[in-house]
């Protein structure tokens, strides 16, 4: 037992799986018969619900503790020895393809595992309160536990194939949970949309895996990344090949992490229960694409073209979806577009080679965005299901804890100095400006997006919590703060949203940037391998090329932009509350276009979905109905036509049969005689 606690790494994904089995049994044998029986008579709380409410958070909490102990054990090792691989069992053995089911704990996956289990545990606790009125209580937690298992498989996998299993698993759980209220047409449609959009990305990941195996002869991270410099030198791994692999991987990332062009499913995914939006569609699953890109950083750094594509798509997504967020009235949709926008930041960071900054923002975003979603869930809970911000207002005094925590998260996402979002976002902005892959244009876009982010987030807070109440009177009477099982996670996440960034205070502000040092063994040895990598490694140090004053100045500028956004929101939604409607009526076309999300869904409907349907229709009519059916029916017709004549021989008259028998015998004997005579 040299590895101590690390030998128990397998428990991290296994514990949620245990939860799936136990809760699954309860859902199947205790809950389902009850649900099928009939709808009205569930006034008493069945005992199994208490059991589920204990098991589901407990297994995730236990997984968090195991993960934490493993990471602490890993941290006690020297910096260059912090990669632990645990081979569980040989999984696939086919010719030269050897894929073991193996887990890998290194600084990168430990950050992910801690975020996933930690935030996941809080959201499980929250869900117990939020879903307490839900009839399919056990089914919900089965899906949630299954999600945790899949997500932990994804982040802890040691090879691309096992990661892909988790990748598909989280996609499945996302589908199941978006469509959790499947009796609602829009919910089941949204689930399908998410699944299909993800499938489009998945085919990119599959092709990328084929290429990786073809090039490296292996799918395991350790082997692939170790071979990169060697194959680079021998000329097998050309820049073109690296570009192809990374672009295909990035296609998968755009699907999973909701980037242009495949982002359209995420806003619709808000049909799911709010804790699901927080866990899957804000904190964890949607960041899987960022994780995969960061994990494959050694390959991405060899493909400057891909890096540029990633950076540009990230920056454009960041500002594009932020503008959509301005006009949305559904509280969860504002947060959904905000998530798309923040994921854009993470890809921007990846694209400029600042993988550490991307993972840093991933972590802080998981804290404050999960908090924002849970807070909005608490608001929705308080208002008996109301999601329209036009029917909120003045909620501050009804839900004080929710308000305070959400306000902290809003400050964090807006980039107010000292809070977590400030450090991570500013790190990205600085890298976008200073890195060798970056450019001032990217900085301008990202800084503008940060201003818009501050604007729409404060718009949300002002519309929801401040001003006069616009609630329906019946709803207002019942407005109440949520139970402790919901507010406690809010408070913990609020603390993390405030303090979570302190692990990554940059050197220029007198910090030691522990986070960067922690991740350095993952990103920098590979970065040092190639010529590009060396530049990135240098850029990551930041102040090497640029004076500290420039960094401080840009930081101040981006804070000023954010403050402008906040000020504008204050002016429009607190001081001159009639102004927004006035602006909307001044430029009706512009407002309409933004309000309808730039008609992107309609455009896809027309440009892609309609085409595919027409094409499939054509295939059905031409190929299926004419060609395939033609062959089958033609064969039958041919046999029938040929048989039509021959079967006349079978006349049913015994004399006829006897005669042909005789004729046959005569012919046969005649032939034999002939042969013997001739010989």
């Amino acid at each position: 037992m040299v590895n101590g606690i690390l030998e128990y790494l397998w428990l991290v994904p296994a514990l949620p799986l245990l939860g799936v089995v136990l809760n699954g049994a309860i859902a199947l044998f205790a809950e389902r018969p009850l649900l099928l029986k009939e709808a009205g008579s569930h006034h008493e709380t069945p005992a199994y619900r208490k059991l589920v409410a204990f098991i589901a958070p407990a297994v995730v909490g236990a997984a968090f503790i195991v993960a934490l102990l493993c990471v602490l054990s890993l941290a006690s090792r020297p910096a260059d020895g912090r990669t632990f691989v645990q081979i569980l069992f040989p999984w696939i053995q086919a010719g030269s393809l050897l894929v073991p089911a193996a887990l890998q704990l290194d600084p990168l996956s430990s950050v992910m595992a801690l975020v996933v289990t930690g935030v996941g545990f809080l959201i499980h606790v929250y869900s117990v309160g939020y879903m307490s009125h839900e009839r399919a209580f056990a089914r919900y937690f089965v899906c949630l536990n299954l999600f945790m298992f899949a997500m932990l498989t994804l982040v802890l996998a040691n090879n691309y194939l096992l990661m892909f299993v988790g990748w598909e698993g989280v996609g499945l759980c996302s589908y199941l949970l978006i469509g959790f209220w499947y009796e609602k047409q829009s919910a089941s449609d949204a689930g399908k949309k998410a699944f299909v959009a993800n499938r489009i990305g998945d085919f990119g990941v599959l092709l990328a895996m084929f290429l990786v195996f073809w090039t490296f002869g292996s799918l395991s991270y350790t082997e692939v990344f170790a071979k990169v410099p060697l194959l680079r030198e021998s000329g097998v791994l050309t820049t073109g090949l690296a570009t192809a692999i990374t672009l295909l991987l990035f296609l998968g990332a755009t699907g999973k992490s909701a980037q242009i062009p495949l982002y359209v499913w995420l806003p619709d995914a808000m049909e799911g229960p709010t804790p699901v939006s927080a866990l899957i569609h804000a904190a964890t699953m949607v960041t899987a694409g960022v994780y995969m890109v960061a994990r494959s950083s050694a390959l991405f750094l060899l493909a400057p073209d891909t890096m540029m594509v990633v950076a540009v798509i990230g920056a454009v997504t960041a500002i594009f979806s932020a503008t959509i967020g301005i006009c949305q009235t559904d509280i969860k949709r504002v947060l959904a577009y905000s998530t798309v926008s923040q994921l854009g930041y993470m890809f921007l960071a990846c694209g400029v080679g600042a993988f550490t900054a991307a993972i840093f923002h991933l972590m802080t975003h998981a804290f404050f965005k999960a908090l924002l979603f849970l807070g909005s869930g608490s608001v929705i809970h308080a208002l008996s299901g109301e999601q329209d911000m036009r029917k909120m207002g003045g909620l501050k005094k009804y839900v004080p804890i929710t308000f305070a925590t959400m306000f902290a998260a809003t400050l964090a996402i807006a980039g107010i100095p000292g809070l977590s979002g400030f450090f991570s976002k500013d790190e990205i902005l600085w890298q976008a400006f200073s890195s060798s892959h970056g450019s001032p244009v990217l900085w301008v876009i990202a800084a503008l997006a940060a201003g818009i982010t501050a604007f729409y987030m404060f718009r949300l807070v002002f519309l929801t919590f401040f001003g006069k109440s616009r609630m329906d009177p019946g709803v207002e009477k019942h407005a109440h703060e949520s139970p402790w099982s919901m507010t406690a996670p809010l408070v913990i996440l609020a603390v993390l949203s405030v303090a979570g960034g302190w692990v990554g205070i940059p050197a220029v502000l007198g910090g030691s940037n522990l986070f960067e040092h922690w991740l350095a063994p993952v990103f920098h040895p590979v970065a040092a391998a190639g010529a590009h990598g060396a530049a990135v490694a240098g850029a990551a140090e930041g102040a090497v090329h640029h004076p500290a004053a420039l960094e401080i100045g840009l930081m101040a500028l981006s804070v000023a932009i954010a403050l402008c956004g906040i000020g504008l929101a204050y002016f429009l939604y607190r001081v001159r509350t009639g102004k927004p409607a006035e602006i909307a009526s001044r430029w009706p076309t512009l407002y309409d276009v933004v309000y309808h999300k730039y008609y992107i869904d309609e455009f896809y409907e027309w440009a892609v979905i309609r085409r595919v349907v027409t094409f499939s229709d054509g295939l059905w009519q031409m190929f299926d109905a004419l060609f395939i059916d033609g062959i089958v029916n033609g064969a039958a017709d041919l046999v029938r036509a040929a048989a039509g004549r021959i079967r006349r021989l079978q006349g049913g008259v015994v004399g006829g049969y006897a005669f042909s028998l005789l004729a046959g015998a005569v012919l046969l004997v005649g032939y034999i005689l002939y042969r013997s005579v001739v010989q």
Binding site: Q650, G651, G652, V653, L662
Partner: protein, 100 residues
């Protein structure tokens, strides 16, 4: 001493009469009798060949054929009676249901 070819000629004639009877007649009873003729024509050939070659196997074969023929006649007549009860006819040309 009668030449062996004479026995074979008799055998062929008997067989030929039987064949014509089977092919040309409509009455099933006659057809069955014609089958018996064919079998006995073959029997003549067996016995003659056995005697000519000094081999008792020819006679043994003839007895075998007679046994089978007896069984065949019994089964055939039973079928015939069942058929008559069902269709009230023993005309083979009337019985042509089993066709295309």
């Amino acid at each position: 001493m009668i030449a062996p070819s004479a026995y074979l000629l008799l055998s062929a004639i008997l067989f030929g009469i039987g064949v014509v009877g089977v092919v040309a007649r409509k009455n099933i009873l006659i057809i069955l009798m014609s089958v018996e003729l064919m079998l006995n024509g073959v029997n003549v050939a067996f016995v003659a060949a056995g005697s000519y070659l000094g081999d008792p196997a020819g006679g043994v074969f003839a007895f075998m054929v007679m046994t089978v023929a007896a069984a065949e006649a019994a089964v055939g007549l039973a079928l015939l009676i069942a058929l008559y009860r069902l269709k009230e006819t023993i005309d083979i040309t009337e019985l042509k249901v089993l066709k295309w």
